[in-house]
């Protein structure tokens, strides 16, 4: 298997409602994939099925290794930190969850990369929104995974914090980590993604590199492409 992950025909139903209806998604080593689409389109559910957080009602997910849980980093929409613990203590704790003992040098390097050196000994719950998101991304990298999943990593952040997170994602991607992220920010998608997967109404509506997609759908920007492909009447 050349890809790290190959999800085929994933289906998820809640009662009569089909949230994900036959979505397939693959990720190659070192690739940056943006999953975009309207709220409720099925992006997070798809990612959660790939991560094993939700049981699919149909379809299958293949991983490049049976020990994939040790090699995948995850950032959810919430920022799950342990109450009473500092940023550094949270890093050590999450490293232990992945079966890794974080060395002082590794912790320092990671905190530096995420611009959290000064906040290392601050209780995680007291960090600013941007710092918490950066810490959540640091947590995804604590065990040096081959692939990270970031669910709306820049949501509800100010422009500077967004810029810093984008730089961080770019930095990890350049170092060879595959990244799958969801976003509503088309500027971010254009800057970071090698490939875009547009999901609407539980299905993949378009897939390709940003330039390829814009050319195919004769869109002048990713924003325009997004509006065209997620037009509810057209759907």
């Amino acid at each position: 298997m050349n890809n790290l992950i190959e999800a085929k025909n994933l289906v998820k139903r809640y009662g009569d409602r089909t949230t994900v209806n036959g979505i397939s998604l693959s990720v190659a080593p070192g690739e940056v994939v943006a999953v975009i689409g309207p709220n409720g389109a099925g992006k997070s559910t798809t990612i959660e099925m790939i991560l094993g957080l939700r049981q699919p009602d149909g379809g299958v997910v293949h991983y490049w290794t049976e020990e994939h849980r040790r090699e995948i980093g995850v950032q959810l929409q919430t920022t799950p930190f342990f109450p009473g613990l500092t940023a550094l203590e949270n890093l050590h704790l999450f490293a232990a969850f992945y079966g890794v003992k974080l060395t002082a040098a590794d912790a320092t390097a990671l905190l530096e990369a995420c611009k959290l050196t000064d906040a290392a000994r601050t209780e995680a719950s007291r960090l600013s929104g941007g710092q918490q998101k950066r810490l959540a991304i640091a947590v995804t990298m604590v065990h040096k995974p081959r692939i990270i999943f970031l669910d709306e990593p820049t949501a509800a952040l100010d422009p500077r914090a967004r810029h810093e997170i984008r730089q961080l994602i770019g930095q990890f991607a350049r170092a060879g980590t595959a990244v799958v992220f969801t976003s509503h920010d088309m500027e971010e998608v254009g800057k970071l993604a090698d490939r875009v997967v547009l999901i609407a109404a539980g299905q993949v509506k378009a897939e390709g590199s940003p330039t390829e997609l814009m050319a195919r759908f004769q869109a002048s920007s990713l924003d325009q492409l997004y509006l065209t492909l997620t037009d509810e009447e057209a759907l």
């Binding site: 094993g52 957080l53 939700r54 995948i72 799950p80 930190f81 203590e89 992945y98």
Partner: protein, 247 residues
């Protein structure tokens, strides 16, 4: 295992609210009630009752709020994406909070015994330890149920009252129930706290024979409550109890 245990222990030691109710509150109650009631037998009963109450507050209420907060923040969801087993996490959290509760109980007991002039034999102390341990596990499991049932601070506080009020006032913590109406005495026997206190009392008196039955009943309660805690456990804040059990 050691790193998660140390980290969760650190978290428990920084949980100021739980520490207040587990350590400071019983001490204040002891000082206030001890000032008004000088009878040695009553003071001994009060000491046992307040040790039990402090541990109960720390483990049940503290764990309940922590479990709800961790689930709401997505900690359990994220844990499922790691190779760390959730059962190991639950056991580690129970052990960490249990250890702090146990130390709090021993501190309250030591301080109270000195203040009230209660004589404690080495045998009594040794007999009390397994009771304290079992009570800690029982009430921590109850805390998990509390955290599993409530989805917000308000809900947990409300359910906490349902658990806490009968246990506090329907058990011989502050007073003996010997003269209480029959139905109150029957209700009292349905609460693990009453058997916990009975076992602690027998332990303190150095009487293993009298300790055996309440300890066995407490063990039974603990097993049932642990099973209920496992059955009601929820990973995801958005999911209903039933849906999670099917997932």
């Amino acid at each position: 295992m050691l790193i998660p245990f140390k980290a969760l222990l650190t978290g428990a030691l920084r949980d100021k609210m739980s520490l207040f109710y587990g350590l400071v509150f019983p001490v204040i109650m002891m000082i206030v009630l001890g000032y008004f009631f000088k009878d040695t037998a009553y003071r001994q009963q009060l000491l046992i009752g307040l040790v039990a109450l402090g541990g109960f507050f720390f483990t049940m209420t503290g764990t309940g709020f922590e479990v709800m907060k961790q689930r709401r923040m997505g900690v359990y969801k994220l844990l499922r994406a790691t190779p760390f087993k959730i059962s190991t996490f639950v056991a580690t959290l129970t052990a960490a909070r249990g250890l702090v509760a146990l130390v709090c109980s021993l501190l309250v007991f030591a301080g109270g015994a000195l203040y009230f002039g209660v004589r404690v034999s080495l045998t009594g102390l040794v007999l009390m330890l397994p009771v304290l341990l079992l009570g800690t596990v029982c009430f921590t499991a109850m805390g998990f149920i509390l955290g599993n049932l409530g989805s917000s601070e308000t809900q947990v506080a409300g359910i906490n009252n349902l658990f806490q009020l009968p246990m506090t006032f329907g058990s011989p913590i502050f007073y003996s129930l010997n003269a209480a109406p029959q139905w109150v005495q029957v209700l009292s026997k349905c609460l693990p706290m009453s058997h916990y206190i009975a076992a602690l009392k027998a332990g303190l008196a150095g009487d293993p024979g009298a300790m055996a039955l309440p300890l066995l009943v407490l063990l039974g309660f603990t097993l049932v409550i642990l099973a209920a805690a496992v059955l009601t456990f929820r990973w995801d804040p958005d999911s209903s109890l039933l849906r999670i059990q099917r997932a």
